[in-house]
Structures are given as C-alpha cells and as structure tokens.
C-alpha cells in the first residue's frame, strides 16, 4: 500500500523568502507523485507532477519539486513566495492505473505574511 507523509502541518514565512514543503512517500511499486494546492473554500489545483524522466519538475506559479527515489521524497520549493501563495498544499501519490485513487498527505498550511 502507498502512503504519504507531509512533515510540516504549518509553515509560516515572510513574503519574498524561500520555502520548502516536505513530502515523503512509501510504496512497494513505482509511483507517480503530485502536488496540489487548495485555496480557501476552493477545489484542488494541480501544481506539478512527476511521472518519469528528469527528477526536477517545474510547475505553475514558480513552484518546483525534486523527486529523490533513494530518500523517497518529493519536496516542493519556491525561491520567493508571495502573499497570494497562502494556501493548503497537498502531496499525493498514485500507482497510475486508470481509476486508481490518489493517496493524499495530511496537507501543509503555508502562511505568507508581509
């Protein structure tokens, strides 16, 4: 079975500071990895995904993540955050078969202040 652990439940940062949201996964098979963002009272928006190939993936809004197979991690980073990045961020894993569920982590609340 797959599982996802997001190591920080809350991350407060100041505007224009860099940020890293940590995600570790557990799986006995190859997985696909995703980061989703959820703004207050809204749905889930895909930030970026790792399916194969380059381990550094770039997403929307200036976010990027690096897949590290040996450490089973998929940490999300942004070099300079904005107030508008304040949201809940979810790391998710899938084994990729059609119809297979996404398994989500518990989420990390990113709070950006000025």
């Amino acid at each position: 079975a797959q599982s996802v652990t997001q190591l920080d439940s809350q991350v407060p940062v100041f505007e224009e500071a860099p940020v890293e949201l940590r995600c570790n996964y557990s799986s006995s098979v190859s997985v696909y990895l995703f980061w989703y963002v959820q703004y207050p009272n809204q749905g889930l928006q895909l930030l970026l995904k790792y399916l194969s190939g380059s381990t550094l993936v770039k997403g929307i809004n200036g976010f990027e993540a690096e897949f590290n197979k040996s450490q089973t991690s998929f940490h999300l980073r942004k070099p300079s955050v904005h107030i508008s990045d304040t949201a809940e961020y979810f790391c998710a894993v899938s084994v990729g078969q059609a119809g297979t569920a996404l398994i989500f982590g518990k989420g990390t609340t990113l709070s950006v202040s000025s």
Binding site: Q42, G43, F104
Partner: protein, 116 residues
C-alpha cells in the same frame, strides 16, 4: 478550457435524509473519482469509475452508492445522512491511455454538504 462541473455547489440536508451529488467530467475524460474532505482534513478517496465500471473502491460507507452513466457523468447517492457526512465532496476526472498521456486527475470545485 472546460473543467469538471459539480452540482449543486452547496447542499443542506437533515439527518436521515438522502442527497444526490452530480459530476460532469471534462469532455472526453473516461474516468471519474469521488473524494470526501472533512473539515481540516485531507481528501479521502471514496470510489472511482472507468468506462462506466467501478474501478477502485475506498472508504465509502454502505449508505452511499455511485454510478457512471453512458455520457460519463457520475452521481453519488447518499442515504440516511449523518452529521458526520458533512464535508466537501470532490469529483475528479482523468483520461486513461492510450488517449491520455498522464494519469493526473482534474478536480471539480466540490459540493459542500451540510447535514443538520
């Protein structure tokens, strides 16, 4: 681009009533997923359908049932509602290979169900 449509967006029901949530996937998407997100919780997978057949099943209560229709839209039927069913219910859709190049799921805006 067209997105996943869910209706209604908000629903208030009383205990022991029934509710039906609808999901219209992105055009040409053949797979639909249902998730439940309780207050302050991560989304929990309920059930999915691929080409109108149940594909995967998660923590869906026996009081709930779902199906996917010939036009690929899906409905989640919830009976004997309990206070604990109050949550945000998301539908997501995806396009399986060979037409789809990824397995990523696109989420709708959700239906907020409040049971009083």
């Amino acid at each position: 681009a067209a997105g996943v449509i869910q209706s209604p967006r908000h629903l208030i029901k009383e205990k022991r009533e029934t509710a039906t949530l609808k999901c219209y996937p992105i055009p040409r998407h053949d797979t639909v997923y249902w998730y439940q997100q309780g207050p302050g919780q991560d989304p929990q997978f309920l059930i999915s359908f691929y080409e109108k057949m149940q594909s995967d099943k998660g923590s869906i209560p026996d009081r709930f049932s779902a199906q996917q229709f010939s036009d690929y839209h899906s409905e989640l039927n919830m009976s004997s509602l309990e206070l604990g069913d109050s949550a945000l219910y998301f539908c997501a859709s995806s396009l399986a290979p060979p037409l789809g190049s990824t397995y990523e799921q696109y989420f709708g805006p959700g239906t907020r169900l409040t049971v009083t």
